[in-house]
């Protein structure tokens, strides 16, 4: 039981030391570096001309569709990982079950391709 938690303690230690190191370096930098801000310097970069409009704007909805598709495939991976470990216990039953699952997913992907959801040019 101790060895089980020891691994997580080590990870926690790396997390702690890592954060400490980063904060320490940033602290050192904040002492050493010059700091002379003025309005022109703090402007957002836009190829040297005065920025037009705001920096936050609407983005292409296509990115959102890829986000949705990713959720589908990542949830699917969550189902596949435990199956992959236990395949030897499940035997042919598990094998065929997973084929059905992956087959349905492939059909879904082909449907998305045929509907031009994955096509970038409009």
């Amino acid at each position: 039981m101790i060895s089980y938690f020891q691994d997580y303690v080590t990870i926690g230690a790396v997390l702690g030391f890592g954060l400490f190191l980063v904060v320490l370096l940033l602290g050192v930098a904040s002492v050493l570096r010059p700091n002379k801000p003025y309005a022109e310097k703090l402007q957002t970069y836009e190829c040297g001309v005065d920025p037009v409009g705001t920096g936050w704007s609407q983005t292409y909805v296509r990115y959102y569709i890829f986000g949705l598709l990713f959720v589908i495939f990542d949830v699917e991976a969550v189902f596949i990982f435990p199956w992959a470990i236990n395949l030897e216990k499940l035997g042919y039953f598990g094998l065929i079950e997973m084929f059905v699952f992956i087959f349905i997913l492939l059909i879904g992907l082909i449907y998305a391709i045929r509907k031009d959801v994955l096509k970038w040019e409009s």
Binding site: Q6, V9, L21, Q43, T44, L69, F73, D74, L118
Partner: protein
């Protein structure tokens, strides 16, 4: 303080020290190799062969003014580099560096596994932490309050999640063959040589080590391409495409926070290569030359083998960067969704059939 806690703390310090020194070496290595491929000299002033160039750059960036743009979202802008850097330390923890070593201390024997943390959910841990990198890029891009970083951030998120799906699916055949999510078990399952039930074939393949790359070459290809895309390296570096997006998501960053993004990128690159070596190239496995070399080498040789494999893969990363032009965005998405994901699914089915036939025999017998 118990001995376990001391071991944990020492391991944590060693991991951080190794990662940071290694990054200094890695950035120098990349610059020298690219310089060689482009008939230049590369860095040669700081230290012997310019090996301290990265250290000089880091100190320079430490002393540079940090500009906080007036339109930026303050809290997120300051936090994003931390989200990039800290998870990259954590990924290295699960990579096994060698077999267990036994240490005698105060008349008691301690067995110390040469791995930061042997998690039984290692693969999931790796996939989860590599997803966190997406947050840093998106938050950095959005919080800058500027147009180019925003575009870079949105592009990055779409690209990274597309290739992450393929990456996860390419790992499934490896898990099928080793039957465990622990990276230590995955390396151990690759020890020994290939064997075949056909005698003539057996004499040929019995010299080849049982690394996953030989039966799983397609999964290796998919995983490696996805790994290049995941760490946003050329030819998939659309996130920071200089010609169109200035610096991408870190356009507005300066000083040491800028350096943190770069540190994170190189540590992630090293982690990806070490993970690829662990999954497909047998990790630390290799001849230890026992009897020829002094006994201490039985501890050092595995680490050297892992280092050699990792730096070979890193060389391929740099080689790809120096050779291939950047992909167009629609080509990138098409490669991810229409080629790599269907291919990885089909390869998964084929691997499962082969494993099923070998383990359970023919279904009708």
């Amino acid at each position: 303080m118990s001995i376990e806690l001391i071991i944990s703390l020492v391991k944590a310090n060693i991991v951080l020290a190794v990662l940071l020194t290694n990054t200094i070496l890695l950035i120098w290595f990349e610059r020298k190799v690219v310089a060689g491929m482009q008939s230049r000299v590369g860095p040669d002033r700081a230290g012997p062969f310019g090996i301290l160039q990265t250290l000089a750059d880091a100190i320079k960036l430490l002393l540079k003014e940090q500009i906080l743009p007036s339109k930026a979202d303050r809290a997120m802008y300051l936090l994003a580099p931390l989200i990039a850097l800290v998870p990259s330390f954590l990924i290295f923890m699960i990579i096994p560096l060698g077999p267990d070593i036994t240490v005698e201390w105060q008349n008691a024997l301690y067995t110390i596994p040469l791995v930061g943390a042997d998690l039984n959910v290692g693969v999931l841990y790796f996939l989860a932490l590599s997803s966190i990198a997406v947050y840093s890029v998106v938050l950095a891009g959005w919080s800058s309050g500027s147009k180019y970083p925003l575009l870079g951030g949105v592009r990055a998120s779409a690209q990274m999640i597309s290739y992450e799906a393929a990456m996860g699916l390419a790992l499934v055949p490896v898990i099928l063959y080793s039957g465990s999510l622990s990276l230590v078990d995955i390396v151990n399952s690759q020890s020994g040589n290939l064997s075949s039930s056909i005698p003539i074939l057996n004499t040929i393949v019995s010299f080849i080590p049982k690394w996953n790359i030989f039966p799983q070459f397609v999964a290796f290809g998919i995983f490696f391409i996805a790994a290049v895309a995941e760490v946003n390296r050329a030819p998939f570096d659309l996130v920071e495409a200089e010609q169109e997006l200035v610096g991408g998501f870190h356009t507005e960053y300066s000083g040491f926070r800028f350096a943190m993004f770069f540190l994170a990128e190189y540590i992630n690159m090293f982690n990806m290569c070490a993970i690829t070596a662990t999954f497909f190239l047998g990790g630390w496995l290799g001849p230890t030359f026992e009897g020829i070399l002094p006994p201490i080498f039985s501890v050092i040789m595995p680490i050297i083998w892992l280092g050699v494999k990792t730096f070979l893969l890193l060389f391929v990363f740099v080689w790809i960067r120096a050779t291939l032009p950047r992909l167009r965005y629609d080509q990138l998405m098409e490669l991810g969704w229409k080629r790599m994901i269907p291919l990885s699914l089909v390869w998964l089915i084929l691997s499962a059939i082969v494993l099923g036939l070998r383990e359970f025999g023919l279904p009708w017998s």
